[in-house]
Amino acid sequence: MQFWIIQGLNSLSLGGLLFLLSSGFSLIFGLMRLANLTHGAFFMLGTYLGAVVLRDFSGLNIWVTALGAGIVVAAFGGLFERLVLTRLKTNPLGQVLVTLGMAFIISDACLVLWGGDSIPVPTPRSLQAPTRIFGFVFPTYRLVLVGVAVVAAVALYVLMDRTRLGAMIRAGVDDRQMARAVGIPVSRLFTIVFCLGAGLAGAAGVLGGPILSAYPGLDADMLPLALIVVILGGIGSLFGAFIGSFIIGFIYTFGTTLFPELAYIILFLPMIFVIAFRPQGLFGRVGA
């Protein structure tokens, strides 16, 4: 019983991380029609920044670090969007290739800067003691992580559904040309959403650090998970990304513990199923 509950919690916390990662990916894709293959690298950059900062300044709080890394990665993403992606507005394939090239550059730069050995990220001291609920023992950090993901989901929901900015973004997702015609500054929205997505990925990277630790190839491990979440949940849908993240979190966690060698195949079954019967994803707004 303890096994199932602990793995269930692990699934939830991975799902939470995946939500932080893939919600940005999904929004960027929905608004900009851009498959941002740098997203896994943004996540990894966040993890490395967090790992190095927390290692060298041990007094620092992980939440502050996550916020800081999120801002740094968001700024980097914004520069990339402004300087490179906007030049390729008429060339969607070129945009994808450039994001892929950027992903290679970032992951190799991390290897140069911080070496090939994995750098652990310590669990915050205040959250190291396990929590007991109904006689079961839970790692506190993972519980908090699930809470953070839920808070982020609610915040994103409020942002998208209750604010003027969110309304403009939704308009841009549904019909970019029409949104432009009624005076919405769509290209500024592009930058905002790209920064937001990159920042979320960077912050998620720091928060995922204590679970995953920073290692070369983290980007290549996370990117396909984000892709599968988004294919599953539906492109451009926050709710789809939320549900998809937790489905994949559960499948991946239980897959890797119960059938470690087949985890990847198990991961890929729900994707095939969804693509076969509902190509736009479970809650997709736009066709890919």
């Binding site: 894709f29 029609r33 851009l34 498959a35 293959l37 490179v84 030049r87 390729l88 060339n91 969607p92 394939l93 070129g94 994808v96 290739l97 450039v98 892929l100 090239g101 950027m102 992903a103 290679f104 550059i105 992951s107 190799d108 730069a109 140069v112 290549a220 990117l223 396909p224 892709l227 599968i228 988004v230 294919i231 492109i235 470690p260 060698e261 087949l262 985890a263 990847y264 195949i265 991961l267 890929f268 994707m271 095939i272 693509i275 076969a276 190509p279 066709g287 890919a288």
Partner: protein, 311 residues
Amino acid sequence: MKWIATAIFAVVALLLPFFSGDFYVNLASQILIAAVFALSLNLLVGFGGMTSLGHASYLGVAAYIAALLTTRYGFDHGTAALISIAGTVVMAAFFGVIALRATGLGFLMITLALSQVLWGLAYRMSNVTNGDNGITGITRPAPFGLSLDTPAAFYWFCLIVTVFAFVMMVIFISSSFGSSLKGVRDQPRRMAALGFNPWMIRWITFIYAGFWGGVAGLLYVYYNKYIHPTSLSITSSAESLLGVIAGGSGTLAGPAVGAALVLLLKNYASAYIERWNMLLGLVFLFIVLVMPTGIVPGWHKLMARIRGRAS
């Protein structure tokens, strides 16, 4: 002029092992293998308008099947090659059914996700694939009793296969089927209205490209006598896609030129710096921003401009 250049190129290619050292002969073999691979990817990217980021799957799976069958299960090379190509084609047919539910970026994401799944399998299913250690001890086949162990013999073998592959792909593209493929790339709705089945045309092309990707995979594993999960990685897919785009997607010879350039760059760069991935990324940025249509079309444009000025 064009014919003379082609003839000189053919003679040089044929006689290369007589006047150059083993290093360059081996390099040339690698270029030929990369060229077959890029040409097969170009069927999808250039002529079908389907940008795949998972083409390494076919190379890697064909190589893995051939390696496993010959080293572990004692199959002879002929049977192993047939089974591995058949297996690759079946896999391409299956992946095609999944990936072709989407077009454009959705197609790209699905092919990428599928190939990452295979890459993960190659790493983690270590009782079958030997994981990070890769599979060693693969031998080269000896068709008709001729050994391919010397660089020159293997080079000629690659040359024959490459020329055959090139001719087969040119026939494919210039056939009426190839025309309908280009039609589906440019105007899928009109083609559907004319009674063509765009899905079926794309699917057949996908399988055909997978077949030649598998052939490249066989050559690859015979050349290296070794296979490692990195052959299935996104870097491997991206390198060949870069070759196709750098050379000019949708041209016949462009991808071969592009693949050769990427390979040469990789070879020379890795002699000086370790950071191949970073260089690859920078080249990607450069090509996409500066030469979006590729080298071969760019060259033609340049020549046309010079000729126009001369007359």
